[in-house]
């Protein structure tokens, strides 16, 4: 009769050792198989397009999505090639990215930070998206950029204009092609000075969130630098629909310029209300009253209708530009969809091509390699003239457009006219500029 020496403690020890032994190869397999997050293993690579498909910016999101789909077509060698023909980097050959066919999945940001993070997370974790692109809000962009940094994928921002995106909230995995509030101020202020003079008193109405705050700060600083006085800045809730209560105090403030730091529906309503109250027909301090909308989009202009006539603002890009990159993109987009692209569509298209190009030049999809390829990258031919992706903060530097509402529009798309193409040198700033202080780019995260 044999006696077993098995004790409870012994059994636990043996189980632990056996468990570790079984698990060990799996751990090694996981780390050796995936050198970075969502490394493509088959014949295709998946990009994640995270745009507002519902909610107030759904039309803008739809335009972004059209451009992203067009970019995928061009990357895969379909269609007319678009900007692949004009892009000064010749790395893209129309055979996908690094020989892999480009596929995409889409997410709906709903223009809500939590929803945008959830949709980006789902695309990364469930669909294996290796890059996230798109969006129409700075709040969303900052939230998704943070998520991509944690997850270890590249974030190529869509429309985001807050200084914070590449300022205090910048991340090593995040890249912004779109311009920002500081650049709007630097481009607009000299034109406003030329048009309206040095001795002006400005009243700001500002959307109460990150984009509004940084744009107001930028515009106030730039206009004060040319001699304007900022009379007041009133923060308005994002959910505001009727701005009459905010407009009427302007009438008795002594201001002769109203600056609307509003975007989307807020801007359409505040501008409409300001026009209703006859501000543009008023004379204050011996001068004609003026309204400025620092950030324009084509859809906002369409929503505001005739109210934007003669009102100055700025844009990242406009389909009326005559450079080769713009012409190629507008032709391609227009032929396919029957309308000119918006500036948010253009930024998403350019970002998708820039990401693909960086992968080709880096020879890898590894976010750290891609990031290195994008940092300090100088290029042309995507529609904004010579452009630099600055390494310090991952912000693109390029010409900025000063525009105004068309006086005599001839068709539905003829809503804005280009007043000036402000050269890149005029909108550049030091990486440690106080308006962008407080953040840390950190190091790239490859995930896995």
């Amino acid at each position: 009769m044999s006696k077993s020496n098995l004790t409870r403690r012994g059994l636990l020890k043996t189980s632990a050792v056996a468990g570790a032994g079984v698990a060990l190869p799996t751990i090694f397999t996981a780390s050796s198989a995936a050198a970075y997050m969502n490394e493509p293993t088959g014949g295709s690579v998946t990009l994640g397009f995270n745009v507002p498909q519902t909610g107030p910016y759904a039309d803008e999101g739809n335009d972004e999505l059209l451009a992203q789909k067009l970019a995928v077509e061009h990357l895969n060698g379909e269609g007319d090639g678009g900007c692949l023909k004009t892009f000064t980097s010749n790395a893209l050959q129309g055979n996908g990215i690094l020989g892999k066919k480009v596929e995409f999945v889409t997410g709906d940001t709903q223009t809500k930070s939590d929803a945008a993070r959830a949709s980006a997370k789902s695309m990364i974790e469930k669909d294996g998206a290796i890059m996230i692109n798109g969006g129409s809000s700075s709040g969303v962009a900052i939230a998704v950029q943070g998520l991509c940094q944690e997850a270890g994928v590249i974030f190529m921002a869509g429309l985001t204009h807050s200084n914070d995106t590449t300022g205090k909230d910048k991340k090593a995995n995040g890249f912004r092609h779109f311009f920002n509030g500081y650049m709007s101020g630097a481009a607009l202020a000299p034109v406003l000075e030329k048009e309206y003079g040095k001795d002006r008193r400005a009243y700001h109405l500002t959307a109460d969130y990150t984009w509004g705050w940084t744009q107001q700060e930028s515009i106030a600083a730039a206009t004060e630098a040319v001699g304007w006085e900022t009379v007041n800045n009133v923060l308005t809730p994002l959910a505001s629909t009727d701005f009459s209560s905010y407009i009427t105090p302007v009438l008795n403030s002594g201001a002769d310029v109203l600056v609307l730091n509003h975007y989307g529906g807020n801007m359409v309503n505040s501008l409409t209300n300001a026009i209703q109250f006859g501000l543009l027909d008023k004379e204050v301090n011996g001068k004609d009253f003026k309204i400025v909308v620092p950030l324009y989009s084509e859809l906002m202009a369409a929503g505001a209708g005739a109210n934007i006539k003669g009102v100055f603002g700025s844009m990242n890009w406009n389909w009326q530009l005559q450079d080769e990159g713009t012409k190629a993109f507008v032709q391609s987009f227009g032929e396919k969809y029957g309308k000119p692209p918006s500036n948010s569509a253009q930024t998403c298209y350019a970002q998708t091509l820039l990401y693909a190009d960086a992968c080709e030049r880096a020879g890898t999809f590894n976010p750290c390699g891609v990031s290195e390829a994008l940092e300090g990258f100088e290029f042309d031919g995507l529609g904004n003239g010579p452009t630099l992706y600055r390494a310090d903060d991952h912000q693109c530097f390029k010409d900025v457009l000063v525009v105004k509402g068309a006086e005599n529009p001839t068709n539905a798309y003829d809503t804005l006219e280009i007043v000036e193409i402000t050269p890149r040198a005029q909108v550049e700033y030091a990486p440690d500029h106080p308006m962008f202080a407080g953040g840390d780019l950190g190091t790239c995260n490859p995930g896995a």
């Binding site: 909610g55 107030p56 910016y57 759904a58 039309d59 007041n232 009133v234 923060l235 809730p237 959910a239 629909t241 009727d242 009459s244 209560s245 905010y246 009427t248 105090p249 009438l251 008795n252 529906g265 359409v268 309503n269 409409t272 209300n273 209703q276 109250f277 006859g278 027909d281 859809l299 369409a302 929503g303 505001a304 209708g305 005739a306 109210n307 389909w319 009326q320 507008v330 032709q331 227009g334 032929e335 000119p340 001839t410 068709n411 798309y413």
Partner: protein, 340 residues
């Protein structure tokens, strides 16, 4: 003093929309006992009646102009509205320009039809269900309606201006030697609202139909026992309430370009107005609508937001709490309504 009076006007103007929507909500609640969360959607559909009529008037035939080019370099396609072709450029342009006032006539039958369809097709099945069920189904209906509108009209606001002659400003203080400049269309909106509210009260007060409805609101069962088909009359009242919300929406389009979400923007505030005014009380709804409009207007002034930051965002709810603590039935609420 001028600034004070202008804020009063702003409040009356905001209150006009609140009062009209709350009036319709109260009519439906008072007659049918239904808490209709789709009422904001009716306001939105009314606004889109104006957009639809404007689009109908702008229906165009296309000709190519070889002397001009579109953005792709092709000959420009010039759209000429049929009304301009049929009635001449000036009359045609005038018809398009007056599409919002003309939409009042277009909106009434459309909204009564929408109201009937909504009541007969869906809401009548929930009369005897708990209020929570009614809220869920009507809220769901509101979302469905706004998604339908978004599908056909997009998410972007659509400019729907008032006729140029009604689009300027008017100095309301000229008679008393003050400078109270106010947008003409907003003055018209206030007067229009007052007219509709007066009309509804007169209809309920001075017509036999109104008398029966009021009797039904007080004691539905007894009126039914007298052989009167009160359900049918209440269905008509639902249609009328829908038309009132629709008219409020039509007239609101020049104030802010309509979008599919505008109903939701007003819905919660209008419910607060109904609760503050007193559930089921028509005068309460109107009084609370204007009162809260004025309070909201003053809370948005620079002085108020500097003194108490954020007051503009919470004032209405703050007042609602105070009113409900001191007068649980609301300002003019009746005993027994929603208390069983």
């Amino acid at each position: 003093m001028d600034a004070f009076l202008i804020q009063i006007l702003n409040g009356l103007d905001k209150g006009s929309a609140y009062a009209l929507i709350a009036l319709g909500l109260t009519l439906i609640f008072g007659t049918l006992g239904v808490v209709n969360f789709a009422h904001g959607a009716l306001f939105m559909i009314g606004a889109f009646c104006a957009v639809t009529l404007q689009r109908i008037f702008k229906l165009s035939f296309v000709t190519e102009d070889p002397t001009q080019q579109d953005f792709l370099g092709n000959p420009l396609k010039v759209e000429t509205p049929y009304v301009m072709d049929w009635f001449g450029p000036e009359v045609g342009a005038g018809i398009i320009e007056w599409s919002v006032p003309l939409a009042i006539l277009f909106c009434i039958p459309v909204m009564i039809g929408v109201g009937f369809a909504m009541e007969r097709g869906l809401i009548k099945h929930f009369y005897k269900r708990p209020h929570a069920d009614q809220i869920l189904v009507t809220f769901g209906l509101a979302i469905v309606l706004q998604e339908i509108i978004k599908y056909f009209f997009g998410a972007n606001p659509i400019p729907t201006p008032a006729p140029a002659s009604l689009n300027g400003v008017v100095n309301l203080g000229a008679i008393i030697g003050m400078d109270i400049v106010y947008p003409l269309w907003r003055v018209i909106y206030f007067c229009f609202s007052a007219l509709i509210i007066g009309g509804i009260f007169a209809f309920l007060q001075f017509t036999t139909f109104g008398m029966v409805v009021r009797a039904g609101m007080a004691d539905r069962e007894t009126v039914g026992l007298l052989g009167i088909n009160i359900d049918r009359k209440f269905t008509i009242m639902f249609g009328i309430a829908a038309a009132v919300a629709g008219l409020a929406g039509v007239m609101y389009t020049p104030i802010n370009p309509p979008n599919y979400h505008m109903g939701m923007d007003f819905l919660v505030l209008s419910f607060v107005v109904v609760v503050v005014g007193g559930m089921g009380s028509l005068p309460g709804a109107v009084l609370a609508g204007f009162l809260l409009g004025i309070l909201e207007s003053f809370a948005s002034t620079t002085w108020a937001t500097t003194t108490i930051p954020g007051i503009n965002q919470v004032i209405i709810y703050l007042v609602a709490i105070i009113v409900l603590l001191t007068r649980p039935r609301g300002l003019l609420g009746r005993k027994g309504v929603m208390e069983d």
